[in-house]
Symmetry: C2
Subunit: 286 residues, 2 copies
């Protein structure tokens, strides 16, 4: 089975549109997401454009603040302070990466935790770790769980999940979400020995390393659910650019029980989960 | 090898005493730890007495605030507010468990994160998860790592660590510390299938389940390092109370490479690491 992330994202956005309409009707609140973009990185501009478009499509307010590349850290902090204090803004997203003269960790720490819809603020990370209420959870990991459940159903209890990669954005938070779902969880990374052998134990295999076609068919247990978080730009045999994941899709597809494609798998879920976080943030502060 | 936690705690306290003396000399700061005890639970009173004694032994200021069992949550919050604002107090520890009419999560969240020497505040949890600077890390997990290194040396990179238990106090934070040490980490728990088989993969096995003699010899790989966090009170064959760990010590000792005993293993390290956190908190805010 190929897990259709595009369709799952459409479904989630439809459900969110209904929630947004209900929030308007019941509480006269329209969830608002403000994206802050510093500089003119072309990839970031495309991401931001997609976010703006999808935010509006579900009936939410989308604002975009474009700042010049030479914005100082102090200026950006001042901008965030304004947004933190603006009651019409429920979610704040600072598009990463930032220019090198700005310290990302300082910026992330300056976003009000209850508006931190990327879920990168340490207070949200800690709430996720401790299983506390009110955590805003990083978007891509949320998408991974939703897609795994498309194949496995709601109950993941007792399954062995193996995560390849230990980033703050994907590896560690997705491991914690899997643990909340009562999976046995193994976190692997570049220092892991016998990686293939460990991966072969996985009922759920999450690949988040950023290395094209890294996960081989021989690493995958028959029937496993494979979630491919990688988005790697490579050249095909004709020298044309194409996107591939971290998993050798063609070979693995024949062995696994279900797999997310790249593109069209985890990618589309990330923005949909960002909108979900914004709706949650708006509801929590209603 | 039996890893001597008592001796390791003595060594750590000696090193801390030197640091405390240096802090006094260089910056005229004496680290201060305040323990807040609500009610008269006998076990808690013993813990607090030990903490006070050891705090003083390393040259730090120890204060104890005893509140009656019928203290309201609001009164306790007010007390914490005072301690948060008192510059002579570098570490605050609220002895758990609290009486049932007080919500522990509200109390933990009210301790200033930079004075939260138990490391239970979500901001500290999140900093640990994200690998950010300035995290105050829970004490027992720190003790586990120090003891494992007594046998394995400083470099744990690439070792497979298996953690049994996923509590906020031990299981999850120790898993993150092992990950920071570049171990491959598997977190198991009550829903885990084939637990014995997974444990047999462990180079480092951490047992933190609170079930006497739970881990059997057949679960342990030859030569593994076993850290036993359990402290279980049972009756021996003569009906006398005694303390045992989560590991079947007598049987496992013959197979493993090293093991911590109960008592005298992880237990003594917990308070020593609490003192270490207090020194760090004092230094960070000097």
């Amino acid at each position: 089975m190929i897990i259709d992330g595009k369709q799952a994202a459409v479904d989630l956005r439809k459900a969110l549109a209904i929630e947004v309409a209900q929030l308007k009707k019941d509480k006269n609140i329209t969830p608002g997401l403000t994206v802050v973009l510093v500089g003119e990185d072309p990839a970031s501009q495309i991401y931001v454009r997609n976010k703006v478009k999808q935010t509006r499509e579900v009936g939410m307010i989308s604002s975009e603040i474009k700042l010049p590349i030479d914005t100082t850290q102090a200026q950006l902090l001042e901008q965030l302070e304004q947004l933190n204090n603006d009651n019409s803004v429920h979610g704040i997203l600072v598009q990463l990466p930032l220019p090198k003269h700005i310290d990302e960790s300082v910026i992330i720490a300056a976003i009000a935790p209850h508006k931190d819809v990327d879920g990168f603020h340490a207070l949200n990370s800690g709430r996720l770790l401790n299983g506390e209420k009110g955590a805003l959870v990083p978007c891509t990991p949320q998408g991974c769980i939703i897609l795994a459940k498309k194949h496995l159903g709601e109950d993941l209890s007792g399954l062995h999940a193996v995560v390849i990669g230990r980033s703050n954005i994907v590896g560690k938070p997705v491991a914690l979400l899997l643990l909340q779902e009562h999976c046995t969880v193994t976190i692997t990374h570049s220092r892991t020995k016998n990686l293939a052998e460990i991966c072969r134990q996985a009922d759920i295999l999450i690949a988040a390393v950023g290395r094209p076609n890294f996960v081989k068919a021989s690493w995958v247990k028959k029937g496993a659910t494979v979630i491919d978080v990688g988005i790697n730009r490579i050249e095909d045999e004709n020298g044309k650019a194409k996107l591939v994941g971290d998993v050798d899709f063609t070979a693995v597809e024949k062995i696994c029980g279900a797999i997310t494609p790249v593109p069209g798998g985890v990618g589309p879920m990330t923005i949909a989960c960002l909108l979900k976080n914004t709706v949650e943030a708006a509801r929590a502060n209603a």
